[in-house]
């Protein structure tokens, strides 16, 4: 990029960011009723509540199980994991001998609690369609160990909105709210792989036009800024000139002692040497272009501030997505990607990752349908060096609770894949949240799941779920480990 252009462009972008951030904060405050904010504050004194999980078995990312003497949760984070240490003050202690503890499961591609929408606009936000007061929905997710998910905006094809990362944190007073961990996590684009060929071409054209319009919008803003600057300079120049002339005229008579002429300090005459375009009448203030919120969202994608997640199943649509990304210098992820195995080399070359969904339903196909081969697709992508992640897909929000089973089905058919790692560590890192989630380690978020047995065994049950250090789910059917120590359970 030409440095001269870089300056103003960045300035413009920064301004969007400010305005956008302000709007998000406002919207969050309104829509959540402060629930998200309250959750972040420790409820039990400055140190927060302390829970000590003793003798639980944990599993490292490659599947090796070890028993640890203590997992200490303080406030919203894991404080300690390892040998027994001295803990001062009030704490809830649980003996979890025989039980397993894993990080809360993360679904990188989910439709949980999403109400179907038909509209498609860059200003649509996924979280607005999330059913956040559905306690049954949360309970089902917890029953299967799921605590966090990326929710794409869905709708008809085209640019459909922005996706959000949501954590299933409880609201105040036992109500359910869900916490937005990351608003605007991605710009969601759907190339409509299920539609007819002509429809798909029209969709692609429409998307291209929207990006072009966004660029034109930015140019009009830049032109306006330049014009405004020029205008300000002209005004300033004229004012200086006037002041100079005034002082010149004012100085003249003083030495001679002659009284000022009858001439008032009128605007300088053209005869006095001023250029014609500096005439007062011709300095017009430039007109400010109207705000375009859709274009502003798209500009953030064009500036690579947010990633674009492009739903594309057919190989031809995936290629189209790659062309689109190159044309507009977008950072993209392919979502769905049923036929990604056919274009693995192109994906590798473009360094574009793929998010895969549910393995189910890839059985029968007719000639006019694309072939879904999610597990084989993952194997081919790995071999080609393409980064991929596995979620549950958006076909049915109910699928999200079984994201681990989906990962297990994939792991059965792809060598070197460990199902648990896919939906914890890998998922958190894929979402760019690896520093906070997806691992049992000090300073990570205290989102964890207690299982009655090995989490990959069919017969194991989720006994407890902690989100943000708080107990949000307890299985009534399984025998409870005895709670001891200084505190009562909430």
């Amino acid at each position: 990029m030409i440095p001269a252009l870089h300056g103003p462009r960045q300035r413009v972008a920064r301004r969007y960011r400010r305005s956008r951030a302000a709007r998000i904060m406002g919207a969050l405050a309104l829509s959540l009723g402060g629930a998200g904010a309250t959750l972040a504050q420790p409820t039990f004194g400055p140190q927060g509540r302390v829970t000590i999980l003793e003798n639980a078995t944990i599993i490292n990312p490659t599947g090796v199980a070890t028993q640890v003497a203590m997992i200490v949760l303080r406030g919203e984070t894991i404080e300690h994991i390892g040998p027994a240490v001295e803990i001062q003050g009030r704490a809830t202690r649980l003996d979890l001998a025989g039980a397993f503890v894993t990080p809360g499961l993360i679904d990188v591609y989910s439709g949980l609690g999403m109400t179907a929408t038909r509209s498609a606009s860059p200003v649509n936000r996924a979280f607005d369609a999330f059913d956040r007061y559905n306690a049954e929905l949360f309970r089902e997710a917890f029953r299967n160990g799921v605590t966090m998910m990326y929710l794409p905006a869905t709708g008809s094809s085209g640019i459909v909105g922005t996706g959000a990362i949501v954590r299933l944190a409880p609201g105040e007073g036992g109500g359910w709210a869900g916490e937005v961990v990351k608003e605007d996590a991605a710009l969601c684009i759907d190339l409509g792989s299920g539609e007819s060929a002509l429809r798909r071409l029209a969709t692609l054209d429409g998307i291209r036009k929207q990006f072009k319009d966004a660029k034109a919008y930015r140019e009009s803003l830049e032109t306006y800024e330049d014009d405004l600057k020029e205008y300000e300079e002209k005004i300033k120049a004229r004012a200086e000139k006037e002041a100079k002339e005034q002082s010149k005229e004012g100085d003249k008579p003083a030495p001679g002692g002659a009284p000022p002429t009858q001439q008032r300090p009128e605007p300088p005459q053209p005869a006095e040497g001023a250029k014609p375009e500096e005439k007062k009448d011709e300095i017009t203030k430039p007109r400010q272009p109207g705000a375009d919120p859709s274009a502003e969202v798209l500009l953030r994608a064009l500036d690579r501030e947010i990633i674009a997640r492009v739903v594309a199943d057919r190989s031809s649509d995936i290629i189209n997505a790659l062309v689109l990304a190159r044309e507009f210098n977008l950072k993209i992820i392919i979502e769905g990607g049923s036929e990604a195995y056919l274009v693995a080399d192109q994906l590798d070359e473009a360094d574009v990752p793929v998010v895969l969904g549910s393995l189910l339903g890839s059985g029968l196909h007719r000639n006019d349908q694309y072939r879904r081969q999610i597990d084989r697709c993952a194997a081919v992508l790995s071999e080609a060096g393409v980064e991929w992640a596995l979620g549950s897909g958006v076909a049915d929000g109910a699928n999200s609770r079984f994201v681990l089973l989906n990962a297990q089905m994939l792991a059965a058919n792809v060598a070197g894949v460990y199902a648990l790692q896919l939906v914890t560590t890998d998922a958190a890192e894929f979402l760019g949240l690896g520093e906070r989630f997806g691992r049992l380690a000090p300073r990570r978020a205290a989102d964890l799941v207690v299982w009655s047995g090995h989490p990959l065994d069919a017969g194991s049950r989720v006994q407890r779920v902690y989100v943000d250090g708080r107990l949000v789910y307890r299985d009534e059917q399984s025998t409870e480990p005895s709670a001891g120590g200084g505190g009562e359970e909430q």
């Binding site: 189910l360 339903g361 059985g363 109910a398 079984f402 089973l405 297990q408 059965a412 065994d457 017969g459």
Partner: protein, 392 residues
């Protein structure tokens, strides 16, 4: 189809050449051992050795085994399981699997619509589903005899395990037909009751007559609780205990179904199934029913059969009962309980070695054996030639 001819040919060749041909491998006595196996009651048994001879399981030994066999195959890890059976599949069926000219087709046989070369059959076999009961589509009141086939049948091994049953009946909306009638629940019951009455008084050897005499096993599709109730009352009058396929209201009908003694076929369950449905198998087992799973093949992938069982376990079914539901109960529903579905002496050696518990979905298929012959083994990098993208 017959197993006799190739054996005779091989014996003749051996007699002439004086050399054992490789094809004779199935006559060898083979010992297969693994640290775990699925027992006849569905629980996992430790340290099991199977002795296989003549395509059948000769003996099942537990603990350290020292037997005189021609070859020994030892798996250091993994679980030996009877081949899994999908009890309500349309695998390999060409075209429409029901006759739409009539609602009474007791003499139709779905086996006539089978394409034994269908790639979906082989793909199911490679996923551990070694047999499938193919049933006529649940429409029409009596839609003919189901059939059970092996998904993989090596040379010299019969593909068809059973061609003549059970007889399939449908109650509920599936049997209503605007053109052919009846069009209501009451109408279906009325016509079926009349047909069964006249079959009993008429005697003879028609399938319907044999059914009411209790000579032919029956599978009834009963979609809702009302249909289950009607089926139990109607067949109860004849002293029959049909296998009932019922998923929707199993939580409500569990007690009644338990009295019937027949296997209850449930599923398929998927990621999107409601909690109420998923809780069904657990409730049925609690009431004393034996359940068998249908996996929805080939509309879902072969692993979906194990998924149905795994989901049922997560929502309350005992793991051993779930393993029975994938094997012996399915065989019983197909009327083949003495032949396949369990690692017991005398049963066909149709077995699968999984890398772990078949209920654990990340367990993969290591080897598949049909009638004592190895027909599939997983390679670390599955080659495209071998399974042709699992060839769906």
């Amino acid at each position: 189809m017959s197993v006799r001819f190739p054996l005779l040919a091989v014996a003749a060749a051996a007699a002439i050449c004086g050399v054992l041909a490789p094809a004779l491998a199935m006559q060898e006595r083979t010992a297969i051992s693994a640290p775990w196996a699925v027992g006849p009651d569905g629980s996992l048994m430790k340290d099991v050795t199977l002795i296989i001879a003549d395509g059948r399981i000769e003996r099942v030994l537990q603990g350290p085994a020292n037997v005189n066999v021609d070859r020994t195959i030892r798996f250091e890890t993994g679980v030996i399981s009877p081949g899994l059976i999908d009890v309500a599949s349309t695998l390999g069926v060409v075209g429409d699997n029901v006759e739409r000219k009539s609602v009474f087709d007791p003499d139709a046989s779905v086996v006539d619509a089978l394409d034994a070369l269908s790639a979906t059959l082989r793909a199911a076999g490679q996923s551990g589903v070694t047999a499938a009961m193919i049933r006529p589509a649940p429409s029409g009141i009596i839609s003919g005899a189901a059939a059970t086939v092996r998904t993989i049948a090596p040379q010299g091994v019969e593909r068809l395990l059973r061609a003549d049953g059970p007889l399939t009946l449908t109650l509920g909306p599936g049997a209503w037909d605007v053109d052919l009638g009846p069009t209501s629940r009451a109408g279906v019951l009325h016509e079926l009751r009349e047909a069964m009455r006249s079959a009993r008084s008429g005697g003879g050897t028609s399938r319907l007559a044999r059914m009411v005499r209790g000579e032919l096993d029956v599978l009834v599709e009963a979609d809702s609780a009302e249909d289950v109730d009607a089926a139990l009352r109607l067949f109860g009058q004849y002293g029959l205990s049909p296998a009932i396929r019922h998923t929707s209201d199993a939580v409500e009908t569990a007690e009644d179904l338990a009295e019937n003694q027949g296997v209850v076929i449930v599923g398929p369950y998927t990621f999107s199934s409601e909690i109420r449905l998923l809780a069904g198998p657990g409730r049925l087992a609690q009431a004393g029913c034996e359940v068998a799973f249908s996996g929805g093949l080939p509309f879902l992938e072969p692993d979906a059969l194990r998924l149905s069982a795994a989901l049922a376990v997560r929502y309350g079914l005992d793991p051993a009962a779930a393993r029975r539901g994938l094997t012996i109960n399915a065989a019983r529903a197909a009327g083949l309980g003495n032949r396949v579905g369990a690692l017991t002496p005398g049963a066909d050696a149709d077995i699968v070695i999984f890398s772990g518990d078949p209920l654990r979905l990340d367990s993969s298929v290591v080897e598949v054996w049909i009638a004592g012959q190895r027909v599939h083994h997983a390679s670390p990098q599955p080659s495209q030639e071998e399974d042709g993208w699992r060839a769906w």
